[in-house]
Structures are given as structure tokens and as C-alpha cells.
Symmetry: C2
Subunit: 388 residues, 2 copies
Amino acid sequence: MVPGMSLADQPPAAVLVFQTLLVHGSLTRAEIGRRTGLSAGAVTKAATPLLADGWITELGRPAGERASGRPATPMAVRADRARFVGVKVTGDELIGVLTDLTARPLASRRAALDSRDVGTVVLAIARLIGQLRAAAGAEGDDAVHSVGVTISGDVDGQTGTVQYSPFLDWRRVPLAQLVESASGIPTVIENDVRALTVAEQWFGAGVGLSSFALVTVGAGIGCGLSIGGRVVSGAHGVSGEVGHLPVGGTDRTCTCGNTGCVETVASTHAITEQARQATGDPALTMEEAVRLAHADNAAVRAVFSRAGHVMGLAMASVANLIGPERIIISGEGAASYDLFADQIRQTFADHAFGAAADCDLVVRPLPFEEWARGGAAVAAQRVFAPAK
Amino acid sequence: MVPGMSLADQPPAAVLVFQTLLVHGSLTRAEIGRRTGLSAGAVTKAATPLLADGWITELGRPAGERASGRPATPMAVRADRARFVGVKVTGDELIGVLTDLTARPLASRRAALDSRDVGTVVLAIARLIGQLRAAAGAEGDDAVHSVGVTISGDVDGQTGTVQYSPFLDWRRVPLAQLVESASGIPTVIENDVRALTVAEQWFGAGVGLSSFALVTVGAGIGCGLSIGGRVVSGAHGVSGEVGHLPVGGTDRTCTCGNTGCVETVASTHAITEQARQATGDPALTMEEAVRLAHADNAAVRAVFSRAGHVMGLAMASVANLIGPERIIISGEGAASYDLFADQIRQTFADHAFGAAADCDLVVRPLPFEEWARGGAAVAAQRVFAPAK
């Protein structure tokens, strides 16, 4: 890693000042003091090396010019201090974005995958990184600080290994190292839903919340949980498996081998299957099912309504157990959210316990570029929120 | 509060050294350094004021004698530095314990409650505190540092208010202030399950775990969640409501007004009701139901088995969402745990997702004195883990 390209060696107060500016934008020293509880002197002491290293800047003053240090001068993060690439890998496509230090997208590219072979995918990722780097118009070793690759499944971010990816049918792939070798840029990897949760926590609908859940509805139903500013990872690598809560109320067997999971009723695949049975058309697609439901086909509407009911039970379970401030609903399935919405809200209200019903349910359409941005946020996080 | 009777003014490194000794017992400076990541110099610097103030001691050396400071001399927390009273309030009884700084019980007392009237209960608590103080054989203002009162229901520890206690039928009772006035000792209050979780985290089956859930089975079914060393409190005051997860699979209405809750099948009351229906004996008690089940009455055994199934679904939900390292099962209902155990484990294994099934299920009989100790742990925690 390039020397000085992380806050890991800064004292905790400097990291805190930096994070406060990252989340709240420009603030005066006095405002930083109020938000962090640091004294005026401590804020100034913490800010000095950050200003000197170019991590933050005093507004209205060119970077590098001698700082006045007056308490009323607002300071802000220097977003252009470092650039990151985030890549989301799906079964048939790569989606990449180039961002600044605040995970703001500067450019994006997509690339079709014609094979799920590890070597092919790694080279395609490296090529996409090269294109985004060129799009940045920047050359040289530090044009891109690091890369974050996200992928659904059991991903061990510590060792950089994809333990299991159902969609790609990968097992124990040391993806971080492979991408790093192919691209020449430091690379981290993370589960895609957790990465999106990190992006929402720092830069999205989760900013400033004590806790939130991000539920993604689509081929699978995933969930990221952020509690007290940290994304829950699970002692055994499993957490947020909303799709496998046993509230489906059926004996149908899930892809995971268990029965009664939410996904047996509410995943895209399950909805399509049930709509095929309801219409007697064995070739019906999800798109056609959505169209039929919008055209008021009662049998197909009932399928969506049942899915909404089960999702409502799952979200009530999250609320009753964790008590998040907000539940954000997203994923490809959110596009047909109008077909579930009433039932989700009704069932949630019926089963949330007491004040847990005050949890805010919001729908946020997050295109795949936002998921890729999650990868960039995970890479950037290593810089601005270094692990102890 | 007595001056110097909290670590709140100590630097973070001193708090960390103290907590490390609290959890791990006696350690040398070198061992503390290894566990905290602090340098030898930083450990010595952090330990000096703790030794001077009598929070910790060097073993084999009388407190107060000049410290040698040699790295190989083990240090330990001075448990007798402060005493605490913990009280658990039930619908018909108070259970109190006197403990040292490490929440080790020194004495315990119980007192029957002949009324649930707020004034009567407050005076009974103050009387119990007086008895425990006398039992300590100590007099003077600082014989007891502070009191922690725990009670089931919606308890706001920040404001010291019991928002709602179903068993006592209390609403918005400023209990902390009332007990403090009546006893003359600083008082904190907490929900009883959360307090027990705090005790387990610091001193019980949760020590050293990255996360765990404590499920208490009895009149109600509660759950405390500890993640990353913090007990989850919920943005709206609700969390860990395992008893109200909608996995009951019935339309029976719960005491909370919702349907399908775990408690409609697995609470003591629900089990008694179902056993009455199964036997046709409308006066059957829970004790008799347990006896019939142990005597192999098939209908009554089926009631316990159904309750175990629903508890297993609830625990699988906890595991799939949070991924705790361990689930601890306790509460009055744990006494008849043998009647549920096989079914809980079977259902848990059937519905835990992937590696979430590696979560350790343990049963721990915790008498009410342990719950009272939870109150003392919450009071002590304000001293040794002051909020930022």
C-alpha cells in the first residue's frame, strides 16, 4: 500500500474527526467538537496532521496553503484524495464503478460474462478495472488506491476467499489475491449485501441511524444488519439470512435443503413457480407474472400477496429481534414492490411487537451500480475506518 | 456519586486494562499487553493510577504498599473496592443480592410482595437493600456503591423509568428516582432479561464470546442479544422479543394482541392451557402437566414437543439473523427443559442455515438470585464500563 494512504497510524481522535466530516460534510471545528465531544484543542490537534496529509481541507483555502486554524473556518474531507474501484459480480455480468474517497461515482462500466470459470471472470474483472482507470484519465501507480469486489454467497473478507458462491458455483476461490495479481491493485472482497449495507451506512439511507436493516429481494432474499455503526457478520459467517427464516408456513423444500424458508414463497424463482401453477402456464416468466398481476389477474395477484405476507413476517421478525430504526427494502424485486407493498406493511403492522412497529419501512431502488459502489465503499472503509 | 468511584475519568487505555483484568482474572503486564495490543509502557502507564486508586492490586503485595512495577508481577481487580445491590422484582416477590465489584454474591435475601402498588413495592425494595447492607456488616455512606433494580417489561434505563410492566400493571413509573429517594443510594434500573445478559456477558457463559443470545423461557419468553460486547437495546426500546416472533403457526391471539407468536404455544401459560385441553382437566397446573409428561402421557408430551418445535424455530431465526456464537437457554421453563430439549435441537438443526447450525445451544439453570445479580452487574457496569 502507498505510504500515508490510510488513517491506520493516526490517533483515534483524528480518525473520529475524519469520520465525522465524512458523514456530515463540512463542519467548523466548534461543530466537530459538539458532535464528537472533543475539546476545541483536541479537535485542532487531531485535524493538524489530517490537513498536512491532505485528508481534509479548509474550505475557501487552496489545499497546501498554510492553515489559519481559526475555529470558524469550515473543514471538509478531500474527496479526491483517493480513488477506488468497486465491482459487483453476478452470474452473467460484471458491474463496475470508479469512485472518490466518499464513494461518489465518477464513472461506471458493465461487462457481460460468457463463462463462470474462475480464470475468465478474474481476467474480465481486471479488464474492467483497466477501463475504469482509463476513464479516470489518470495514470501512474496510485491512480486507483484499491479495489473492492462483491459477490453473493459465503465470502470471507478477512482471508479474501469466496467460500461458496451458489450462482457461480465456486468453492474456496482466493478471489482477492487473484484479482490483485491480475490487476496489480490491492483488492478486498465482501459479500454483496454486506457491502451494500456498508455503503448505505456511510453514504446512503443509513447515515446517522443507530441501527438499520437492508433487505434485498430478488433471486435470493438477503439482509444486511447495521447495529451501532457496525455491520453484523455472524460468529460462524452467517447473518442476515432473512430468506431462510422459517416463517414460510409451507413444507416446500428450499434451495438450502431446509423447509418453510421465506425464499420458498417470496424469491423470484418461487413467485414464478407459483404463478405458473396458478395460471397453468409452465413457461410463464417473472416478467409475465408481474404483467398479469398488474392487469389484475386474481390468481397471480394472490401469489404476490402471499409473498408479501411472508416478507412482512420476516421483517416483523427482524424488528422484534433487533429493533432497527429503519428497514430499507431493495433488490431487483423492489421494482415490482407495488405488488407486495400493501401486504408487507399490513403483515408487518400485525406482527411487530409494541414500539417495534415504529420502525420505518422504506423502499429504495438500488441499481447494480449502487451495489458495485458498495464494493468501493468497503475498499475505502479500510482507509477511513481502519480496524483496530 | 462518591469521588473516584468510577473509571469515567480514566483514559481509554486504563479502562481497557481494567476490563481485561475483570474478565480474565489475574494477568501479568506482559499478558495484558498481549490481550489488549498495548505496549509494555502503555500498560504500565495505564495501570499506575488504577493501582494508586485501589481499583487493581499487585498479587502477593498488600494494597497500598509501593508497587514494584516489574512486568512479571501479576495484577488483578480489587473486587472489594466497591459493593453493589441487585434486586429483581417479580409479580409477587423481591429477590436481592449484595455483590462485590465483580458481581460475586456476598449475601442474598428474598421478600414477599403483598401488593403491587408502586409505593409499597418501593418501600419493600428499600427495606431489602437495608437488610443486605446490614448483612454486609458494613456501615457508612459508601458501604453500598449503587443499586440496580431489574424488572420485566419496557424499561428505559436512560431515564430510569418503567414505561410498562405487564406483570405489575405499571405504566410510566420513575422507579430509579423513587428507589434512590427511599434508600438514599444511587439507583439504576434495567429490563430483567437485558440485565441478566449483561451479567452473562461480563461474568457468565458469555465471557469472551463475540456474540451470544440468552433465551429465557417461563411466564414470558425473553431474549437478550450481546453483539460485539454490547447488549442490543433496539432503536425503539424493543429488541430480543423472541416470544413474539411470528413462527407459532397458529391463529391463537397472544397477550400482546398479535397472532401466531411463539408465546401462544410455548409460554408456561400456553403450555398449561394446551395441556388442559389435551387432558380435559380444566384445573390442571403446569406442575401437574410436567408430571404427566414425565409419566409418558402422550397427549401432554405432544404439547411440550410442539412448544419445543416452536422454540426451535425461534432459535433458528435468531441464529440465521444474528449468527451468535452461542444460545444460552434459561428461565423457570428450563427446569422442564428435558421435555423440550430433543425437539428444540431437532427443529433448530432442521432450520438453521448452513454454518449457523454450528451455534452452540446450552442450557443454564439460573435461579432468581442470578437475575438479581444481573441488576448488580448493571450497576457495577456504570463504574467499570462507563458510557462514552
